[in-house]
């Protein structure tokens, strides 16, 4: 009962925040609404005792990804009104596609209800069983191959991003630490021995 109330409450906030993401007039507000979305999704996960996924969602998306989003959005100063200019013209098409997707989703859900046996009530975890350990056991055996492949995807993303963005531009003022360390005083400083200008 309590769980049901919490579920509906957090779901309502989740949907509201999702609407806020696309309706907010300020890009920073959109990002913050998205953060709220992630939080509520994490809570929904907590309600089905998937605490590992819930915490990781907060850790990865809220703690890292969205911070970068916020960083970029603030830096770029996106003018969302300008982006919306063509909105009214394309709105009917977008609405049509959205409608199709909604109908399809509803249909699939409905068909599932009719045609396919659902996996049934999932058994709650045994007392003392650790959610994290269970996920780890599946992830590193049954899904070991996709897991490694996902790691490769990330590696490629890193290599691609760095090779596309990092290049030596002339006139850059960044310091070169190894050059600083290896400086020889003899090249920079000339010690001159001069006689005093006036005899005391």
């Amino acid at each position: 009962m309590l769980v049901a109330i919490l579920f509906w409450a957090f779901s309502a906030v989740l949907v509201g925040a999702a609407l806020g993401v696309i309706l907010a007039r300020n890009a920073v507000h959109s990002v913050l609404f998205l953060v709220l979305c992630f939080f509520n999704a994490a809570v929904l996960w907590l309600l089905i005792e998937a605490e590992f996924l819930a915490i990781v969602l907060v850790l990865v998306y809220v703690g890292a990804v969205m911070v970068l989003f916020l960083f970029v959005v603030m830096m770029l100063d996106v003018d969302i009104e300008a982006l919306r200019e063509g909105f009214a013209r394309n709105a009917p098409l977008g609405a049509l596609i959205a409608l199709i997707v909604v109908v399809e989703l509803a249909y699939v859900l409905w068909v599932r209800r009719l045609g396919v046996e659902l996996p049934g009530e999932t058994a709650p975890l045994a007392q003392g069983a650790s959610n994290t350990a269970e996920i780890g056991a599946v992830l590193y055996t049954q899904y070991a191959y996709p897991f490694q492949l996902a790691a490769m995807v990330l590696l490629i993303a890193i290599v691609a991003a760095i090779s596309l963005t990092m290049r030596r531009r002339p006139g850059l003022k960044a310091q070169d630490v190894s050059r600083q360390v290896s400086v020889d005083p003899a090249e920079r400083v000339r010690l001159v021995s001069m006689p005093p200008e006036r005899e005391p």
Binding site: R112, V116, A137, T141, Q142, V153, L155, V159, I162, L164
Partner: protein, 483 residues
């Protein structure tokens, strides 16, 4: 399905040794480049080629006659996979070999380029050996991400950046469609495994409408990756905008992956639902052949022309797949392999002919090539004959096979349409031949390539003729690997 923790042993992952080898080689290459700096460029290049050769050795060693499923169903090793992998190593190695001088002259031959190329090969391997939709999707992402970055690799080229952007956005949409289809399929069958989906479809456990929806989205995703009309918009821009070596790369090995993608998903996973996707493929194939061949006529840029030619060839490959029987798949496999050989040679000539400040990508650049470089004009002639499907080149056999497959399933009108389109297509291929042999030269050509490159390119061109004269071996190979 066993969820209990267990330790994987070497024997368990042995069929995936080639994938592991390539992934490790990419990491080693990354380290060599990072630690060696600019001095290790030559070494890195040799290492990349050696990695592909090593992968070929590993693949042919661990390859089996039967079908082995490992890693909880996510990985399938079968003869078709082995052949496709070997061809993609070959295509990638040829690509790198042809590209070296072009890249060196433009200061693009960086370690990251080679790493990305190896990673793309890894993605192709994963797609080819995918046993589940999960690994299939991840393989596509590995390949696509590498290709996006390679297209944009020339940072100072605005056109390349634009085409990379288009490729990236449309590729992301395609991935989205594919993922959406996969999730619907998971919803109606309850499994990610391709075998599991095939089983559910054969049992009739999957409700029609849900299955149809899933298939529709998956076909859209596959068509995007192939570049079939009407999902072809990215292809001409990417071929045109990317640096020519990348165009060659995108045009060769990934086509093998697209074929494998179609085979794994449509033939193996959804073979039981042939009725559902055959009509979709008929439309895609007919449109691709029509648009590809007709629009190619209007092109003045050879890279763009070859892009539209690719679209038309994709239509022909789809002809074989949509037949939905062993003969059709065999024909499509044969077509894919020969197409890769031909397109590699085509761009090989373009790369051989270009030099610093001269891209050799306008059709007019090829005027009178015969006067200056009769041998490579002849190679280009072979390529153009092959692409047009003129006997005695191998392109003729390829077209014959797929058209025969379509006739087999009583789609006579489609076969007639395909013949008509290949006749129209012959026009623009033969126009290149006419430019090379009957026009006066306008641009000064060059021939500074290394001997090895010239030799390999010549062999590549002659292979088109040799396989056309003696198609038996390759045909038998295709027959063997598809039972």
């Amino acid at each position: 399905m066993d969820v209990m923790p267990m330790i994987l042993t070497m024997a368990d992952v042995m069929p995936a040794a080639a994938e592991i080898f390539v992934a490790a080689a990419a990491c080693v290459l990354l380290l060599v480049d990072a630690l060696g700096g600019g001095r290790a460029r030559g070494l890195a290049f040799v290492l990349a080629i050696a990695a592909l050769a090593g992968a070929a050795w590993v693949s042919s060693t661990v390859g089996t006659d039967g079908r082995t499923v490992i890693l909880w169903g996510h990985f399938v090793a079968d003869p078709m996979g082995t052949v496709l992998k070997l061809f993609s190593y070959g295509a990638a190695a040829l690509t790198l070999l042809y590209s070296r001088e072009y890249l060196e002259r433009r200061d693009l031959l960086k370690g990251e380029y080679l790493v990305l190329a190896l990673c793309a090969v890894l993605g192709i391997q994963v797609i080819v050996s995918a046993g589940s939709f999960l690994s299939l999707y991840l393989g596509i992402e590995i390949m696509s991400l590498s290709l996006y970055a390679m297209v944009a690799f020339d940072r100072d080229d605005g056109v390349a950046a634009e085409s990379a952007m288009k490729y990236f956005v449309l590729g992301a949409i395609a991935s989205g469609a594919l993922l959406y289809g996969i999730s619907i399929l998971y919803g109606v069958t309850g499994t990610f495994l391709i075998d599991g989906v095939a089983f559910a479809v054969a049992q009739g456990r999957a409700p029609d409408i849900g299955l149809l929806l899933g298939i529709a989205f998956i076909v859209v995703g596959v068509a995007f990756k192939f570049g079939a009309v009407p999902f072809h918009m990215w292809l001409p821009d990417v071929y045109h905008g990317a640096p020519t070596p990348v165009t060659l790369f995108v045009g060769s090995a990934p086509k093998i992956a697209s074929f494998a993608l179609a085979m794994r998903v449509l033939a193996e996973g959804l073979g039981g639902a042939l009725d559902a996707w055959q009509d979709m493929l008929v439309v895609l194939a007919a449109l691709s052949m029509a648009v590809g061949n007709l629009v190619a006529i209007a092109q003045t840029n050879i890279k763009r022309m070859l892009a539209y030619s690719t679209i038309s060839h994709v239509g022909f490959i789809l002809l074989g797949i949509l037949a939905g029987n062993a003969a059709g798949y065999r024909a499509a496999l044969f077509y894919t392999l020969t197409y890769v050989i031909m397109t590699t040679a085509a761009f090989g000539v373009v790369l051989w002919y270009s030099r610093k400040g001269f891209e050799a990508d306008a059709l007019d650049d090829y005027k009178g090539l015969n006067r200056r470089h009769p041998w490579f004009a002849f190679v280009m002639l072979l390529v153009m004959f092959g692409l047009a499907g003129v006997p005695p080149t191998v392109g003729f056999w390829a077209k014959l096979q797929v058209i025969a497959a379509v006739l087999d399933v009583r789609l006579t009108w489609l076969a007639a349409f395909a013949v008509l389109m290949s006749v129209i297509g012959a026009y623009y291929y033969l126009r290149v031949v006419k430019l090379m042999y009957f026009d006066e030269p306008v641009t000064a050509g060059q021939d500074e390539s290394r001997f090895a490159v010239r030799l390999v390119l010549s062999l590549n061109g002659l292979a088109i003729l040799a396989l056309g004269l003696f198609p038996g071996y390759l045909l038998r190979l295709c027959e063997q690997v598809l039972r």
